[in-house]
Amino acid sequence: MATPTGQPFERENYLNKHYGVGSWLLTTDHKRIALLYLISITFFFFIGGFFALLIRLELLTPAGDLVQADTYNKLFTMHGQVMVFFFLIPSIPAVLGNFLVPMMIGAKDLAFPRINLLSWYLYIIAGCMMLHCMLTGGVDTGWTFYTPFSTEYSNTKVIEAGLAIFVAGFSSILTGLNFIVTIHRMRAPGMTWSRLPLFIWAHYATSIIQILGTPVIAITLVLVVAERALHLGIFDPKLGGDPLLFQHLFWFYSHPAVYIMILPSMGVVSEVIACFARKRIFGYNFVAISSISIAVFGFLVWAHHMFVAGISVYAALIFSLLSYLVAVPSAVKVFNWTATLYKASIHYEAPMLYAFGFLGLFTIGGLTGLFLAALGINVHVTDTYFVVAHFHYIMVGGALMGYLGGMHFWWPKITGKLYPEGWARLAALIVFVGFNLTFFPQFVLGYLGMPRRYYDYSHMPEFQVLNVLSTAGATILGIGYLLPMMYFLWSMRYGKPAPDNPWNAAGLEWQTQSPPTTFNFEQEPVVTWEAYNYDEIDKAHPEEAHVVG
C-alpha cells in the first residue's frame, strides 16, 4: 500500500516541476491553486482578525474611547464581511478541498482546471475591490446589509462592498460547480459512492449549497446596488417597497452559508478521527447522508433570523420547527463521531487535538442553537451577544478548528515537510482555551441583555467584567492563531522531510508521494477496498509507528 520511499524532496513534484511566478499565476494544477488560495485567505484572515482585535479592545471599557463610533461600526462590518466572504467560505473548500478532492477520488485534477484558476482570479479581484473599499473609507452597514439603512441612509461605500461580494460569490459558485462535476464524473475505477471518504460527501453537500444559494445573494446585492444608485423603491417602504423582502432573500443564502462553512469542517473531522482512532467511522452511511440532509434542510430555515423582524406568527412557527429538524442530522454526526472513539486505539497528535476541540466547541455551538430556535427565547436573545457567541462557536469554534486540524493533518502531504508536533499541540491547547474564554462570557452577556454591535455601553457598566474576560480571551486566541502560521512557515524551510504517509492513514491521497506529482498518481488507481480500511492497514504494517507520534 505504501509507495516506495526515497528522498521525497529530490523527487519531481508539483512544487518543483516548474519555477517562476508565471508557473504559479497561470497554473491549472489544483494543488497549486489550493496554495494560491491558502496564501490569499490567510492574508484576509489576519486582516479580519486585526479588526476583531480592535473591536475587543474598544469593548474593554464601557465608554467609547479607543476609536470613533463610525470607525467601530466599520470595524465590525468589515470584520464580518472579510471573515465570512473572504475567509470562512473559501477556507476549507478552496484550500483543502481544492487540494484533496481530486486526490481522494483518484483523479488527476478537477474536471475544469481553467475554471478553477478563474475562480481564484475572481476571488482576487473581489479581494482587491474589498481592500480598496476598506482603504478608501470602508462600509458600515453590518455584514448583513439590512435595508433601508444600506440603500438610503448609510454614507459609506456600500456599492463597492456589495460588488466585491457579488464577484466573490461567483468564485464560490465556480468552485462548487467544479467539485460536483468532479465528484460525479472523475472518480477512479472502483471508487463507488459508498467508498467515498466522508470529506468528499461533505464537500458534495457544500457544493450544492454554493450552487443553489450563492446566486440568490448575488442577485440580492445587485438589487441593493441598483436601489442605492437609482432609488428604485424595491426595498424602500417610502416608495412602496418592502425591507423585509431583502431580509428573506439575504438569509435564504446567508443561513445555508453557515453550512458552507461548517460542512467541510465536519468532513475534515471525519477523516482525522478515523485516522487517529484507527477505525472506520461509526455509521458511515448516516454521517454521509446527514451531510446531504443538512444541505437540503438548510435551505428551509432562513426566516429563523427574522422572528422579531415583523414576520407573521405562523411563519415563525414553521421556521422554528424546521430549524429543529436541521438540528437532528448535526446531532447524529456528533453521536457517530463519539461512537467511533469506542474501542478505538486513539493517538493524540495535533490534528486529533483539533478534532477533539471541534467536537467540544461544535457541541456547545449546536446546543445553543436549540435556544435560538426556541421562539420564546429567541425573542429575548436575538441581536444580543448570545447570538454572537453562538455563531462564533459554530463558525470559529467549528469551522476554524476543523480548518486548522485539516491543515496540520495534510501539511506533510501539501508541503512534504513535517510541522513541529510539540508546538502544534501547544497551539491547539491555546486556541481551545482562548476561544472559550473569549466567547463563553458572551453567552452570559447576551442573556443579560447586551445588544450586539454596541460601540459604547456606558449606559450599562455592569457588563464590563464579562467584556474584559472576553477581550483577555481574544488576546490568547490571537496568539493561538499566530503560532501555527509561524511554525508552518518555519517548517517549510527547516521541517523534517515528510514520508508519503506519515500518519499511516487510509485514503488515496496518502498513497501517492509527498508532495504529489502534477497529475497526482503515477498511474490511475483502482479502488478495491472500502473507505477507512484501518484494520487492513494496521494488519499490513503493524510495525510502522507514527513518525510524528
Binding site: G310, S320, I346, G376, V379
Partner: protein
C-alpha cells in the same frame, strides 16, 4: 413574561447540559480508556442502525417538546391582552419618541404603571430599529412604513434598560433609554402633569384640519366610508377580499388609499403620504380607534380601558 422565558431557558439549560455532559463524558472516557496501547488494535465496528435511529428519534422528540414550549411562550408574547394601556412609539436615528394614548410625550424614557399591560404600537421614521427591554424579555423590530406591535407587563417598580437592538447607524449604541415602572398611584400623579390632552383628541383636530370629515361623515352619505365603529371590524373590499380594520389598515388607508378600496366606494381619496408626520399619523389612528369605543364621546377615553376587540394575531407583527 420574564418568568415564562426564564423557565423555558432553565429547562433548556438542563436539557442541553445533560446532552453536553453525555457527549463530553463519552468522549473523555473513550479518549482515556481507548488510548493507543501496545499490541491492542482498534476494533472495527460498522455502525448500528438501531442506535442511529435511537439517537435520531429521541433528540427529535426532545426538540419537538422544546419547540412547542417555545411556541407557546412566543404566542403569548405576541398577543397583546385586550384592555392594555397603549403607547405609540416612533423610532428614529437615534432616539425613541414615545407618546401615551393619554397624550404625554416622552423621549428615551417611558413611564408605565406596575401591574398593567402596556401595548406598544411602533413605527420608524427612517431605518429598522428594535425595541428591546431585556428585563421584560421582550423585543420587537420597529419598521419604517408600517406598525409592529409588542406588549409587556411590568410587575416591579424600578428603572429598566431600553435598547435599540437592530443596528441602525452611527449612534446605534446611543439609542438607549429607560423604562420607568411606577406604582399605579405614583403613575397617576405623574400622568396628571404636562398632558396636552389625549392623543385621540389631537387626532380629531388633525382630522378636521385635513378636511377628512368632508367625506368621512358620520352618516352614510359621505363619499368615504363612515369611520364610526370601524376599528377592529372586518371590512369588505371592492375586489372581494375582507380585511380586518387594524392599525396597519388605517395607516395604509391614509398613506396609500388606493391599495384597499372599501366595497361600494370609489377610489377618490388622495394620498397623504408626505403630508402627515408619523406623530400625526399616530394621532389619527388613535382617533379612528376612539370612534369605535363605547359612548358617543369616544375621544374622552383617557384612562378608561379601551375595549376595542383585540385585533387578533395577524396584526401583532404584520
Amino acid at each position: 413574561m420574564a418568568g415564562n422565558v426564564d423557565a423555558l431557558y432553565i429547562f433548556l439549560l438542563i436539557v442541553t447540559g445533560l446532552m453536553t455532559l453525555l457527549v463530553f463524558t463519552c468522549v473523555i472516557y473513550f479518549a482515556a480508556r481507548y488510548r493507543k496501547q501496545k499490541g491492542v488494535s482498534a476494533e472495527q465496528i460498522e455502525g448500528s442502525t438501531p442506535l442511529e435511529i435511537t439517537w435520531s428519534v429521541i433528540p427529535f422528540f426532545v426538540f419537538l417538546a422544546i419547540f412547542m414550549w417555545g411556541a407557546v411562550v412566543y404566542f403569548k408574547g405576541r398577543t397583546p391582552p385586550r384592555d392594555s394601556t397603549e403607547v405609540y412609539v416612533v423610532a428614529k436615528q437615534w432616539m425613541w419618541k414615545l407618546e401615551h394614548a393619554e397624550g404625554q410625550r416622552e423621549i428615551n424614557e417611558l413611564h408605565v404603571p406596575a401591574g398593567k399591560d402596556v401595548k406598544l404600537i411602533m413605527t420608524s421614521q427612517d431605518v429598522i430599529h428594535s425595541f428591546f427591554v431585556p428585563a421584560f424579555r421582550m423585543k420587537q423590530d420597529v419598521l419604517p412604513g408600517r406598525y409592529t406591535m409588542a406588549w409587556f407587563h411590568a410587575t416591579k417598580p424600578g428603572r429598566y434598560h431600553l435598547f435599540c437592538a437592530e443596528y441602525c447607524g452611527t449612534q446605534h449604541s446611543g439609542m438607549v433609554g429607560d423604562i420607568v415602572v411606577m406604582e399605579p398611584s405614583q403613575y397617576e400623579a405623574w400622568m396628571g402633569g404636562g398632558s396636552t390632552g389625549p392623543l385621540s383628541a389631537s387626532g380629531e383636530k388633525i382630522f378636521a384640519e385635513l378636511g377628512c370629515a368632508t367625506c368621512h361623515r358620520s352618516d352614510t352619505q359621505g363619499r368615504g366610508p363612515n369611520l364610526q365603529g370601524l376599528f377592529g371590524k372586518p371590512v369588505q373590499l371592492e375586489d372581494g377580499r375582507t380585511v380586518n380594520a387594524d392599525e396597519n389598515y388605517v395607516r395604509e388607508s391614509i398613506l396609500d388609499p388606493q391599495a384597499k378600496i372599501v366595497k361600494g366606494f370609489k377610489p377618490v381619496m388622495p394620498t397623504f403620504q408626505g403630508l402627515v408626520s408619523e406623530e400625526q399619523l399616530n394621532a389619527l389612528v388613535a382617533y379612528v380607534k376612539s370612534l369605535s369605543n363605547a359612548g358617543p364621546a369616544g375621544a374622552k377615553t383617557a384612562s378608561a380601558p379601551q375595549n376595542n376587540p383585540a385585533t387578533s394575531k395577524g396584526t401583532q407583527v404584520e
